[in-house]
């Protein structure tokens, strides 16, 4: 059982200057961790596959800023940003990617399954849409226990076309559960533009009425707007008013996975979105708010240092013991299935 005892009270306060600087630094940490993951993949130190979230930082960091420690987050295979935003250290994430025994999941999960249950990050799931009903279940549990917690499912635009999406939203709606459905609409389902496979313009928000749910479309590259929208939705949820659908508009900087060069994306589109880089937007907001350039640089430098140290720490970490392949199977510690 994964029960946590934290108090969940009220909604996130409006984002002040200092907090925004912290959020900016977190986004820098994520961006640099993703860059490190990319480089480590290319140099052969990360095996398998990765789905990098560079470009999506504001969604994870903004949302986490509006959540309480006891809340539950469920993410996808593209979930590094959510793990870090919820409190996973870059070193334990990179160690996981590098198949190290110190990895978040002891190298049993890999990039697609980053999980930090102790921080309310209840997992990354690699079957599209599968985690939406789980988030509904966590919200149901919060309601049953009257805990005041909310659950959040992050998912892509492509996930809105799978059956589990439909079943999850319907169940959450009729049971009026404290759950947020946060779509990261980055315009693509792998290599296919979402518009080619979805008959409505906003694949998540335009479908909320089918479940009698309220929806909001949010600039997913603006960490402040995301935080505010999530805070509103979380407050509604905690007040017993049920689920909300949030569709955040964002863009991934890397290809879909591994070494995908993302040639299917028009150059202008990419350029436009790079100009709306969530890190730039946060820097602009901070500068407008009077934060000196030096403070921004210092934050970025701290992030760089954290990630550089994380890379070294992860590289130096030991591989898992082969015998660990047989632990964590049954709850009693064993792995036997027969006598």
């Amino acid at each position: 059982m994964t029960v946590r005892e934290e108090e969940n009270a009220g909604t996130a306060p409006a984002i002040g200057r200092d907090e925004l600087l912290t959020l900016y630094e977190q986004m820098e940490v994520i961006r640099r961790t993703e860059k490190a993951a990319h480089d480590l993949f290319l140099s052969g130190l990360v095996k398998g596959t990765t789905h990098l979230a560079a470009g999506h930082e504001a969604v994870a960091v903004g949302a986490s800023a509006a959540l309480q420690p006891g809340d539950y987050v469920f993410a996808t295979y593209r979930g590094h940003h959510h793990a870090i935003a919820r409190g996973a250290a870059p070193a334990e994430c990179l160690a996981e990617l590098m198949s190290k025994g110190t990895g978040l999941c002891k190298a049993k999960g890999g990039s697609m399954h980053l999980t930090k249950a102790s921080a309310g990050m209840l997992g990354s799931y690699a079957i599209v849409g599968a985690h939406l009903p789980m988030a509904v279940g966590a919200a149901w549990s919060a309601k049953l226990r009257d805990s005041g917690e909310v659950a959040v499912a992050f998912f892509g635009d492509g996930a809105t076309n799978i059956g589990a999406f439909h079943e999850a939203l319907n169940l959450a709606a009729i049971w009026s559960l404290p759950v947020l459905f946060v779509c990261e609409n980055n315009l693509y389902m792998e290599y296919t533009p979402i518009g080619a496979v979805t008959p409505v313009g906003r694949p998540a928000a335009d479908r909320a009425p089918a479940y009698g749910l309220p929806a909001e479309v949010v600039d997913g590259n603006d960490v402040v707007l995301v935080a505010e929208a999530v805070a509103r939705a979380a407050a509604r949820a905690r007040a017993g008013a049920g689920p909300t659908v949030l569709e955040t508009l964002t863009y991934r900087h890397f290809g879909h996975s591994r070494t995908d060069p993302a040639k299917y994306r028009p150059a202008e589109e990419l350029q436009q979105w790079l100009q709306r880089d969530p890190l730039n937007l946060a820097r602009q907001r901070l500068t407008s708010a009077g934060v000196p350039e030096a403070a921004l640089t210092a934050a970025a430098d701290r992030a760089a240092a954290v990630v550089a140290a994380a890379v070294e720490e992860a590289k130096a970490a030991p591989p898992p013991d082969p015998e660990d392949a047989f632990t964590d199977m049954w709850a009693d510690g064993g792995s036997a299935w027969r006598t």
Partner: protein, 326 residues
């Protein structure tokens, strides 16, 4: 001992006992509330525990199991009903990829203490999409425990074990047994998963059976007893954990094995049992291992056709005679 109770009643009784013990136990499923479930296996639960603990769902098998999983990961002990086991196919992702894997793939960060109950098996003329015995589907998935009781007392005792288990358990309730009767379970009855029962002792041949094939094997054993053949009947009761010690111990004495399964031969659970015996029990065997199973066809509707393709007492008797005269 009190009056006999039905297998159907035992299901609700088993759940109710655990709901009384542990407030974290909650039920969800289609028509399980006021209606008591289409097989009445949830009868009385809504009346006793109310809508806060017994939840009617839409026809959304994926959401049912996904929600059960999310709740189990966050402090509850859900008991989810999937009305017919055939519908596992509609939520197989949760049974195959999510529920059984999340503990392992997170390095043990979470546990998923839930029970998925379902009405399994044939014999009621419900046709190809409502009659399958699919314990073998679950067997193929590492991370699931599998209960398939044959008697009312075992239903109660194994339900207790299943609900108390910190690992996910798939609990197969056999449709063909719902109306059958047996002794009620004593107070506090718990039957640990992974312990086979010797339903009948014998010395000439071992019959391994599960759920509805247990009475079938018993009937066959009775029938050959008239000819002086002493058949031992083992009720596996659960497939994971699988009590091969009991099976191998029996074969060490009898040297002969018939496995009686409701699922088809190809991919059936008996293949796993047979292959363990062909390895660890090889020296015990004095005759071929025979599996009496369903044929490799979808289950036909008409009784006369169904009889032709599913295991019957006659088919088990024929197998016993073949092996004992080998």
């Amino acid at each position: 001992m009190a009056d006999l109770i039905t297998y159907r009643e035992a299901v609700a009784e088993g759940i109710a006992r655990e709901m009384r013990r542990d407030p974290a136990v909650v039920c969800l499923g289609e028509d399980i509330g006021a209606a008591g479930g289409v097989f009445k296996t949830a009868a009385g639960l809504f009346a006793e525990f109310g809508p806060e603990r017994v939840w009617d769902t839409p026809i959304s098998e994926q959401a049912i199991l996904g929600a059960a999983m999310g709740a189990a990961m966050t402090g509850m002990r859900p008991v989810a009903e999937i009305m017919f086991s055939d519908f596992f196919a509609c939520c197989w992702d949760y049974l195959a990829n999510e529920i059984p894997k999340v503990r392992y793939m997170t390095g043990g960060q979470v546990t998923v203490p839930l029970v998925v109950r379902t009405a399994n098996g044939g014999g009621l003329g419900f046709g190809a999409q409502h009659s399958q015995a699919v314990e073998n589907w679950a067997l193929a998935i590492p991370g699931l425990k599998i209960a398939a009781p044959a008697t009312p007392a075992d239903v109660v005792g194994m339900m207790a074990a299943a609900i108390r288990s910190d690992d996910p358990v798939v609990f197969f309730e056999h449709k063909g047994l719902f109306a059958s009767k047996g002794a009620p379970a004593p107070e506090g009855h718990v039957v640990p998963l992974g312990q086979a029962a010797v339903a009948r002792e014998g010395s000439d041949i071992t019959l391994v059976a599960l759920a509805a094939t247990v009475p079938l094997a018993m009937a066959a054993a009775e029938q050959v007893a008239a000819d002086g053949i002493s058949a031992e009947v083992i009720d596996l009761r659960s497939l994971i954990p699988l009590d091969m010690a009991t099976v191998l111990g029996s074969i060490a004495r009898t040297s002969r094995l018939v496995i009686v399964e409701e699922n088809p031969y190809q991919g059936g659970w008996g293949g796993t049992v047979a292959s363990i015996v062909a390895d660890d029990g090889f020296e015990s065997l004095d005759a071929p291992v025979q599996r009496v199973t369903a044929a490799c066809v979808p289950l036909p509707f008409a009784d006369v056709l169904e009889q032709a393709v599913i295991p019957t007492t006659d088919k088990v008797v024929a197998a016993i005679r073949r092996l004992t005269s080998y």
